[in-house]
Symmetry: C2
């Protein structure tokens, strides 16, 4: 039984007895699912890093390893498709550890009756995206499930990458005073999917921001920017990314809401739908925590790789344990909440 009251209830309580759509949303319920159902089986050291990829030491090399399942609906949307997402999502998880992508795997769960032409378009998109990173697809698997037991195609990509030496790029490395930068305007991906699915009839076609972030991260590393943490703002949006990082570090953040870039069309759609842009998913935007002295230089490097609006300096790290405060246009402050479930399921 689906219990909608569970989805929005912010007070901890026993898990509902069944999985709900909200458990997949990157919010509080998902974190609770991980803590309750999954924690026992996974390496606690890696889980406690709360980061997008695991780091493994291998004969003196630092290997990043990550996985993501993609179940986006629809399979094709303005600015991308499930194949592009599957490559970018895993490349970006590696990049967020500063790791150069070495190789990807892709496992396909195909629904009986999927038009072969659809599969071929998706694979062609994966190939094109992988070539642009560049990264090689080196191994894969295919399973077929009965009609009505899937939804066209689900793809799980995993990746291995070579992480840089030196202090790890991870939430625990952020410090009070760090500058918080965002790589471009937020909320495009979520709104693009919502518009494609619901036929919102918006005046402007909003295209997804889905893209590989590796080139930008590589340029930041090349420029010797003192990077403390990177995080792509996917499910749960920029809000979830910020909150999870500062909570993990036991620190806080102050964000200047007016500095956060949001495209007018995205802002309009959010107002129409009653959504908070900071909660809307992205697939090609990241937040960077860097030493304040390097912030301007980092922005220049990021600007050279930006698509859409330029990157922005949106705030700073504080010592307000686990609290992200947002200063609005008229100076009023509020505390940013992590979404509990998900505005829109199957966004990636």
């Amino acid at each position: 039984m689906k219990r909608p009251d569970d989805i929005t209830c912010p007070v901890p309580h026993p898990l509902p007895p069944v999985v709900t759509m909200a458990h997949g949303g990157g919010g509080l319920l998902m974190q609770r699912l991980i803590d309750t159902a999954f924690r026992s089986a996974f390496d606690p050291d890696q889980l406690d890093r709360h980061h997008d990829s695991a780091l493994l030491e291998l004969n003196g090399s630092r290997l990043a390893f990550t996985t993501d399942a993609f179940v986006v609906s629809p399979l094709f949307f303005p600015g991308g498709d499930i194949g592009k997402l599957a490559v970018c999502g895993t490349v970006n998880d590696l990049a967020m550890s500063g790791a150069r992508p070495l190789a990807l795997s892709a496992a396909f769960i195909l629904e009986e009756g999927l038009p072969m032409e659809t599969l071929e378009r998706i694979v062609a998109s994966m190939q094109e995206t992988a070539a642009s990173v560049p990264v090689r697809l080196v191994t894969g698997d295919t399973k077929v499930v009965d009609r009505g037991k899937g939804d066209g195609v689900y793809i799980t990509t995993s990746g291995v990458g070579l992480a840089p030496e030196g202090p790890a790029i991870e939430p625990q490395s952020i410090r009070p005073g760090d500058a918080i930068l965002v790589s471009g305007d937020i909320g495009r991906h979520g709104i693009a999917i919502m518009a494609a699915r619901e036929g919102l009839g918006l005046e402007t076609t909003i295209t997804s921001d889905a893209q590989s972030l590796w080139a930008t991260v590589a340029a930041l590393l090349e420029a010797d920017i003192e990077i403390h943490c990177l995080r792509d703002a996917t499910r749960g949006g920029l809000a979830a990314a910020l909150i999870e990082i500062v909570e993990t570090a036991g620190l806080g953040a102050e964000i200047n809401e007016a500095a956060v870039p949001v495209h007018d069309a995205v802002r309009g759609a959010c107002e129409l739908l009653g959504l908070e842009p900071l909660h809307v998913a992205n697939e090609g935007r990241f937040v960077a925590f860097v030493a304040a002295a390097d912030a301007e230089r980092a922005l220049e490097v990021m600007a050279a790789h930006a698509t859409g609006s330029p990157p922005a300096w949106i705030g700073r790290v504080t010592d307000a344990r686990g609290r992200v405060s947002l200063t609005g246009a008229i100076g009023a402050r509020r505390i940013l909440d992590r979404p509990s479930g998900e505005q829109l399921p199957r966004i990636c």
Copy 2:
């Protein structure tokens, strides 16, 4: 439109326009799907190895990397469950390159409404299996799909392992005269799934052979056996494993049918169902191609790790290009065919 005539037709012809269950079967149709839909996107060098994991060079280490999606139905069956399969399957793909498993990832696609208790049982099984290998689960992902767009839970595991130095353990390394060994009795997994699903009412409960093969492979490496190729006989059974290896190597094989161990209960079920035991899937059996001089010693090592019946020397490599011939109990020879589709979908 599903065209059943495509499923059994052994003559190459254009792909049918939609994905059918048979495309997931590990047989001819699946190979054709890989060649037609996937080949362009994947690294040709790795694909042409026709092996279970890709090998990557990383600062002097040889890294094995593999992925597998698991969609088995039912989720629980005698001798295992989807969680145990998901860990063993990926560990075994690494082991088949001689690689010591370093770390696994697991991505879950959960269907809305899945009882939380079912998920917890599966995760507990993964934990127990991973601990027994041993290997760590270091990273994961969870997505939830709408009711009727999944089937409880699908799991994709990927793995990285450290492959040994020296000549690669892969199909291209086999030589005429090599001994062909099988690690135990075949066909248990497929028959266990079929019995669980169809309620065959067999007299004996046949348990799946699902198990990690790493301990056995580690012992073979430790004993310095000259291993040329290893392959776990999963979808398509022992037949598909043998045929794919000799085809890749441009060689052949002679198999003594009477030497292939098959449990009486499995043989009985196969006769009842009109199945060829050599085509039935396994999840804890492998075939080893070793230098003939090391065959007896390899059997001793494998016997020390065997579950069920002891390992057996079942044949030898010949130079009969791509042909696996089978000598039956009364001396008649026949050519072993690769299954075209699948006897039974969603076996793993």
